[in-house]
């Protein structure tokens, strides 16, 4: 230790704090054998600090003085103002600013809590919230749900047509046709609240159900359908969601998870969350089981009305074909479901009419009126 030998005879004053009280003690500091010796003014040693363990606690200071601790867990402090001594200590103690080591115990603790946090967020978002929402959804009075749904339709229509005023299509003849179709299905479906079916002037091939029996068909969907039975199949599917209270459950679920997302993303205004959730709702729709049971409901409803479900299968296949050429306008919750072929097969299997005659949902005149409902 040549550096240490060089400073062998160096002495300076300092202020020592014993860690018990805040009272300063004037001391003399000098180097010993691999240690820093702290003596009181009567030359009696107070402490020996190992040079390897000494740490600088004042890293932001630019006034030249140095405040030391024998190690990071100790309460004692020593401040030295003498520039020569400060320089000497900086030279001799290379690890003066070494960071406090992170113990394996602390790492384990971090790992444990990370797992716990992720696990509980997962449990809440994917198990507790859905279960609770399902329970709560059945407790909401139909009138309250209807009032809420009406408001939500406008909000969603606004979101879908950014910049423009959303428009629901209506012509006297078209309305009549739509009402006839709805009445035929609603009568058999036995819905717990009256349905409100509307056509949104939007080119997307889509349809959705909102709380309060609100069903919105898109213009693009009606124009894509080749027969009124195809539209009726989609409508029956959406009625299936309404009967299962899927929209209400999903709304409650979004509310429950929005808070958590805000918590993790640090956004409590909820603005981005609202938009993100609405888009998620429109795109991916409900969980797979909800879709399957809505399909099941639709085929049963069609069968009960003596209608074929072959057109439903045809419509699914049409959607499958259209998503093949990835036109972004077709990204809808009906088409993003990967298993359209499977759904079409199931619909065809459920067909009870076969090739025999049936009473059409709409006559030709009504069908033309519905197709042209968005043309004034």
């Amino acid at each position: 230790m040549t550096a240490l030998a060089q400073y062998e005879r160096l002495e300076s004053t300092g202020r020592y704090f014993d860690g018990q009280t805040a009272r300063p003690r004037d001391v003399v500091v000098k180097f010993g054998d691999a240690s820093l010796i702290i003596l009181d003014m009567g030359d009696m040693p107070i402490a020996h600090w190992s040079l390897a363990g000494v740490r600088d606690i004042g890293d932001g200071r630019e006034d030249g003085s140095l405040t030391l601790t024998p190690d990071y867990d100790a309460d004692e402090r020593l401040t030295i103002d003498d520039p020569t001594m400060v320089q000497a200590i900086r030279t001799v103690c290379k690890d003066l600013r070494q960071r406090r080591p992170t113990t394996p115990k602390r790492w384990r603790k971090v790992a444990l809590w990370t797992v716990a946090a992720l696990g509980s967020v997962y449990m809440i978002m994917f198990h507790i919230v859905p279960a609770l929402s399902d329970q709560l959804a059945t407790l909401i009075p139909p009138e309250a749900e209807a009032a809420m749904g009406e408001k939500m339709v406008d909000q969603f229509a606004d979101l879908l047509t950014p910049g423009d005023e959303p428009r629901f299509c209506s012509t006297p003849k078209g309305d009549k046709a739509l009402a006839a179709m709805t009445a035929r299905l609603e009568g058999t479906a036995n819905v717990y609240l009256p349905l409100t079916v509307r056509v949104l002037d939007h080119e997307m091939v889509n349809a959705f159900a909102l709380p309060g029996g609100q069903i919105v068909l898109f213009r693009g969907l009606i124009r894509t359908a080749d027969a009124p039975e195809e539209v009726a199949a989609v409508l029956a599917h959406e009625i299936g969601h309404v009967v299962a209270r899927d929209p209400t459950r999903l709304t409650l679920r979004s509310a429950g998870t929005a808070g958590i997302l805000g918590l993790l993303l640090g956004d409590f205004t909820g603005a981005t969350v609202t938009v993100a959730l609405s888009e998620a709702l429109l795109r991916s729709g409900y969980q797979r089981e909800a879709e399957t049971s809505a399909d099941h409901f639709a085929t049963a409803l069609l069968a009960a009305e003596g209608l074929p479900s072959e057109p439903m299968a045809a419509f699914f296949l049409k959607l499958k074909e259209m998503t093949g050429d990835s036109d972004p306008g077709l990204l809808s919750h009906l088409s993003t479901h990967p298993d359209l072929q499977g759904r079409a097969d199931k619909a065809r299997e459920a067909d009870t009419v076969g090739g025999s005659a049936f009473k059409p949902v709409l006559d030709d005149q009504e069908w033309v009126a519905l197709r042209n409902i968005c043309q004034e």
Binding site: T13, F17, D18, G19, Q20, A22, R23, V28, I57, D59, G60, R61, D63, D75, R77, T79, D81, D82, T102, R106, K109, V110, T114, A116, A117, S120, V121, I128, V129, L136, L139, I140, P141, A144, A147, M148, K151, M152, Q155, L160, P162, P211, T251, L252, A255, T257, A258, G259, I260, G262, L263, G266, T269, V275, L277, E279, L282, R283, P328, G329
Partner: protein, 462 residues
């Protein structure tokens, strides 16, 4: 040894004493000795790290910045010391997430359910999503107290710990109560809230075994607040009185009739019932000017009140035994710092962001992407790849711009403010603090995690 009652020149000052011919401490000063350049790079590098780690790095950033600031402040020649660790803050945040997630889910679900069940046609249909903040609001005060307790428990001076006694729930109820009182008195009792809450916090704060006490009275704060409150109250009262006095309710019918689009009738009415239309115009201009003047006045008075109450409340925090700090920072110097800082920061941020955004469009051009995809972003009309690519300007331009902005704020707001506060403060009777005995370690396992989870300002230090 007390120095309070003697004239300045007769006092024997310890700083005149020397040992072995070397310089010793100058006990009665508070100094801030941090370097601006070091602080800037510290903040910038940590902020970039925070962005790269999607926010997890903020615990390391806060810790490092606090260590810098604390150790840059020395009182009587001894630096403050921050002993908090980033790891414990991360653990604290995770703990807070677990607890808050449960709390939030139940409260927001119940609120939404209630919103559904008692729905009466108010336009709150989708705003229930925003309602999820509501149950968190009171917890904010609770978390604030806990965060302060953590910070004090990790602060040392002369090796002795500071501390804050438990009392977060009490603070939350008081904050809510005083806040409510302030609200129902239309802001009149705001200084009372300030004083009471400061008293609650200060009277539970300790340096070692010594307790702090919040002294001071309501009157000076109230007088300062009146400069803000009175003009607003007077104008509001006059306005309301005038509205009731002069508003002729029978004209409502006439106004409805005007809506019929009968232009002739409008003209007739103007000539017959308004003898002097100029008085109306003059009134409008005068009223407008008055509103602008009021706004300017209130802004100024608010700044003044903020500075005054900071000075008054902090100067009246007395450590058991008599140590106190006299804050004298002037309003002019603070406003000056903010004006100069704002100009510097926005100039630099503007230059940096401009360069970065230019660069990002260059990258997009090089990759052959039409910048118009940006307009489609968020409209739900984008396919996966272009959606991903449209994020390029955000990553290359916006995020480093934010990092630069945060770092510049530290260098050009916090740094000069601390310097100015330190330069203008007077320390009284520091030797009384010698009596403080060591204080037990306060674990505080959540380490300010609740305050962080509830919307900490990312990139800040305090």
């Amino acid at each position: 040894m007390s120095t309070i009652d003697y004239p300045e020149q007769q006092v024997w000052k310890p700083k005149n004493r020397t040992y072995l011919g070397t310089k010793t401490a100058e006990p009665d000063r508070l100094e801030y000795t941090g370097g601006r350049g070091e602080l800037f790079w510290l903040a910038l590098s940590r902020m970039l790290m925070t962005i790269l780690t999607l926010g997890i790095g903020r615990f390391w950033m806060t810790t490092r910045l606090r260590r810098f600031y604390w150790s840059s402040i020395s009182i009587g020649g001894e630096p403050l010391e921050y002993t908090g660790r980033a790891g414990e803050k991360l653990i604290g945040f995770l703990i807070a997430v677990v607890i808050l997630a449960v709390y939030l889910v139940f409260t927001s679900l119940l609120l939404t359910f209630a919103g559904f069940a008692v729905y009466d046609g108010d336009p709150i249909a989708l705003s229930f999503l925003q309602l999820s903040i509501l149950p968190l609001f009171p917890l904010g005060f609770w978390a604030q107290y806990r965060a302060r307790r953590y910070i004090l428990a990790r602060t040392r001076w002369r090796g002795i710990r500071f501390g804050l006694a438990p009392g977060a729930w009490g603070y939350m109820w008081r904050a809510l109560g005083w806040g409510f009182l302030t609200l129902v008195t239309a802001g009149l009792l705001y200084p009372l809230m300030q004083l009471k809450l400061s008293r609650y916090l200060t009277d539970r704060s300790h340096y070692g075994s010594l307790r702090f006490t919040q002294e001071g009275r309501l009157r000076p704060l109230m007088i300062s607040w009146m400069w803000v409150w009175m003009p607003v109250a007077v104008v509001a009262a006059v306005g309301l009185f005038g509205a009731f006095q002069y508003f002729d309710f029978s004209t409502i019918g006439d106004l409805e009739a005007l809506g019929d689009g009968d232009g002739k009738r409008l003209n007739e009415r103007d000539e017959s019932t308004d003898p002097n239309p100029f008085s109306l115009a003059a009134g409008a201009i005068g009223g407008g000017a008055m509103i602008v003047a009021l706004f300017a006045w209130v802004t100024f008075a608010l700044i003044h009140h903020r500075i005054f109450s900071f000075r008054y409340l902090n100067s009246n925090k007395v450590l058991e035994g008599g140590t106190r700090f006299d804050f004298r920072i002037g309003m002019g110097s603070i406003i000056g710092i903010y004006i100069v800082g704002s100009i510097v920061i926005w100039l630099l941020v503007g230059i940096i962001a401009g360069l970065l955004i230019g660069l990002s469009f260059g990258i997009m051009a090089a990759l052959g992407i039409d910048p118009r995809v940006l307009r489609e972003f968020g409209s739900g009309e984008l396919t996966g790849l272009s959606e991903l690519l449209s994020v390029i300007p955000v990553i290359v331009g916006y995020l480093p711009g934010i990092a630069a902005y945060i770092a510049l704020r530290h260098a050009f707001f916090t740094h000069p403010l601390l310097k100015e506060v330190a330069a203008t403060v007077t320390v009284n009777d520091l030797s009384a603090a010698n009596e403080a005995a060591q204080r037990a370690h306060d674990e505080q396992a959540e380490a300010g995690g609740f305050a962080d989870a509830l919307g900490a300002d990312i990139g800040g230090a305090f």
